[in-house]
């Protein structure tokens, strides 16, 4: 993997690759013990079984972006509008996740270039509150689409989310409406939007901007759907087949355009972006 750029190192602080005390990770698919540095170099894909680990937003940005990344909406920070407490207070949960993830919220948005082409890029991170969408995720995504619209940039959003964030109640649900409004304006102005669905993408995020893209790409074996697997199993009182709600299943059903291996993601996006520039993509080139 390309070395982590300086700007990124400064911005993200602790990283999954070098900041973690654990040197080893166990592949949750095949059980193999993996040296974390090797895993990072392999884009967080198990070298033995190809299992795609859930990737951290900053690692994802480093993997996709050519160079610098100018953040949008980074100053928007979570509040606690409901004064929420369950087993723990929302404030405490946020503090824990900030500490653990080195992120301020579940999405990082900004402008950058991919394959030499300027783009607006949003990347969600499941390690922060399960990638749930509250007011901050909604606001940052809306600003991303507004900026992209203004500058006529194509927009790419990498999703990973358990849905709307319960701790913000209806204000979280309203983010589906807010992001939809921003996406609609962006699309109606003739801009290109590509979503990249990663494991897992469910609930309010799949029911809003994830499935409003012109082209929908998914990482292999990602779990994608509206209702969570457990909810469906409880409702129908039977076990679902393993393949149900996987990226491959969705491709077969016609819900998404393509399933990609993580190592090919950047080149696939470059190829797609080339069509938005009106330039002739190199004939016959393979990703």
């Amino acid at each position: 993997m390309r070395s982590v750029p300086e700007w990124l190192r400064a911005r993200r602080g602790k990283t999954s690759a070098d900041g973690d005390a654990a040197l080893w990770s166990k592949c949750s698919a095949c059980g193999e013990m993996l040296y974390r540095r090797d895993l990072a170099a392999n884009l967080w894909v198990c070298p033995r079984c190809d299992h795609h680990f859930r990737m951290r937003a900053h690692d994802r940005i480093a993997m996709l972006a050519d160079g610098d990344f100018v953040e949008i909406g980074g100053e928007v920070m979570p509040a606690d509008p409901l004064g929420w407490t369950d087993k723990k207070s929302y404030a405490a949960k946020l503090a824990t996740d900030r500490e653990k993830s080195g992120l301020t919220e579940a999405v990082v948005c900004g402008t950058t270039a991919i394959g030499g082409m300027p783009v607006a890029l949003g990347v969600m991170d499941f390690h922060f509150r399960g990638g749930t969408m509250g007011s901050v995720v909604g606001e940052r995504i809306a600003r991303l689409f507004e900026e992209a619209r203004e500058r006529r940039l194509p927009c790419i959003v990498v999703t990973a989310s358990g849905g709307a964030r319960m701790e913000e109640g209806m204000l979280a649900l309203m983010q589906l409406a807010k992001t939809t409004a921003a996406v609609a304006r962006f699309l109606d102005d003739g801009n290109f939007y590509c979503s990249v669905l990663t494991d897992p993408t469910t609930g309010g995020v799949s029911a809003s901007f994830a499935f409003q893209a012109d082209v929908i790409v998914a990482e292999r074996k990602a779990m994608i759907g509206f209702a969570g697997r457990r909810v469906i199993e409880q409702t129908i009182r039977q076990r679902l087949p393993d393949q149900f709600q996987t990226a491959e299943f969705l491709l077969e059903k016609g819900h998404i355009d393509m399933v990609v291996h993580r190592r090919d993601l950047k080149s696939v996006l470059v190829r797609l972006l080339e069509y938005t520039r009106g330039v002739h993509p190199a004939a016959g080139a393979t990703p």
Partner: protein, 326 residues
């Protein structure tokens, strides 16, 4: 078990006794009017006591009351209704009803989430849980309304979108996402009324509008209280606690600026006097449509954008959000 239904049992018994006494009073020489008046006073007192201030969890039960008026009960009181069916792809979803209608002399497109009013109808309507075809039908009707320049009136009443295998196979998430897009973009006035329970994205799919109205004892939540309790405490029986935390009442949502107007219900809930409730709702919807008609189309769509663009509470607006809660 519905806690409101349970509470009503005693009241209904009292009602029956008062009616019996009245009948007896009319046919017998003994004057029982004193007794009747005492019973009536007691009845009124109990009613105030048990319905005067409902907890959020009690409101959830009120919203789910089997006798609470449903979308079709409201639509039946329009001047005219011509139902349209189907998503043009797969099937007609009876959990969404919609079509051309006339309200107070004004032609509109009406779309509602429809739960059953008894067991048989509930089975036919999938307990009001909408499948992708329902959302695609709604989207189709919104696009049609736009072309014919008809305002859109919706009724929100759904626990949640259908979580079945078939719905996932037929892209429930995409159906809702595209329905949201249609309601966001549409260039005609839209008025949504939450008449019962609004649950999650499945409700919001008919809930994006220029004016959002809500019945006093309706609820509207990011997740069902049972679902939230199961996730938060792994214990669905803590649903009452979850209901209180989720801030799902009309009063909470009005304070957050999500709901524009609360429509009062008769003491004891909408089902105690459906006629009055339905009239109040239709009058308010009509007034909202009249107000919206004053706006130019561009103004209307811009105002809708700005309204949704503002929603949420984040750090640099924390104080504002806290104040809104008080």
């Amino acid at each position: 078990m519905n806690v409101i239904v349970e509470r009503e049992k005693g009241l209904l018994e009292l009602e029956r006794r008062i009616a019996e006494l009245r009948a007896a009073n009319a046919s017998q020489p003994v004057d029982m009017s004193g007794e009747i008046a005492a019973l009536e006073a007691k009845y009124a007192e109990i009613q105030r006591e048990i319905f005067g201030s409902l907890t959020p969890w009690e409101k959830v039960h009120m919203a789910r009351h089997p006798k609470r008026p449903t979308a079709l009960d409201y639509i039946a009181r329009f001047d005219r209704f011509d139902e349209l069916h189907g998503d043009r792809h797969f099937r007609d979803d009876p959990a969404i009803v919609g079509g051309f209608a006339v309200l107070a002399g004004r032609p509109v497109m009406v779309i509602g989430q429809q739960r059953g009013r008894d067991t048989k109808e509930n089975l036919a309507r999938n307990f009001g849980m909408v499948t992708p075809e329902g959302y695609r039908k709604a989207r189709r009707l919104v696009l049609l309304a736009e072309r014919l320049r008809l305002p859109v009136v919706t009724f929100v009443d759904i626990k949640g979108a259908d979580p079945g295998i078939g719905s996932e196979e037929r892209a429930q998430a995409e159906a809702i996402a595209q329905c949201l897009l249609a309601f966001t973009r549409v260039r005609v006035p839209t008025v949504a009324t939450v008449i019962g329970e609004g649950g999650s994205g499945g409700a919001l799919a008919l809930g994006i509008a220029d004016r959002i109205l809500m019945l006093e004892h309706s609820v509207y939540s990011v997740a069902s209280p049972e679902g939230a309790a199961a996730i938060l405490w792994s214990d669905a029986s803590k649903a009452d606690e979850a209901a209180a935390r989720l801030k799902l009442t009309a009063q909470d949502l009005h304070a957050f600026g999500i709901v524009d107007e609360i429509i009062a219900e008769p003491l004891g809930g909408a089902h105690r006097d459906p006629e009055r409730t339905i009239s109040a709702v239709l009058t308010t919807v009509d007034a909202a449509l009249t107000a919206l008609r004053a706006l130019e189309t561009d103004e209307l769509v811009d105002a809708r954008y700005r309204k949704y663009r503002r929603m949420g509470a984040w750090e640099n607006e924390r104080r504002e959000a806290l104040e809104a809660r008080r």
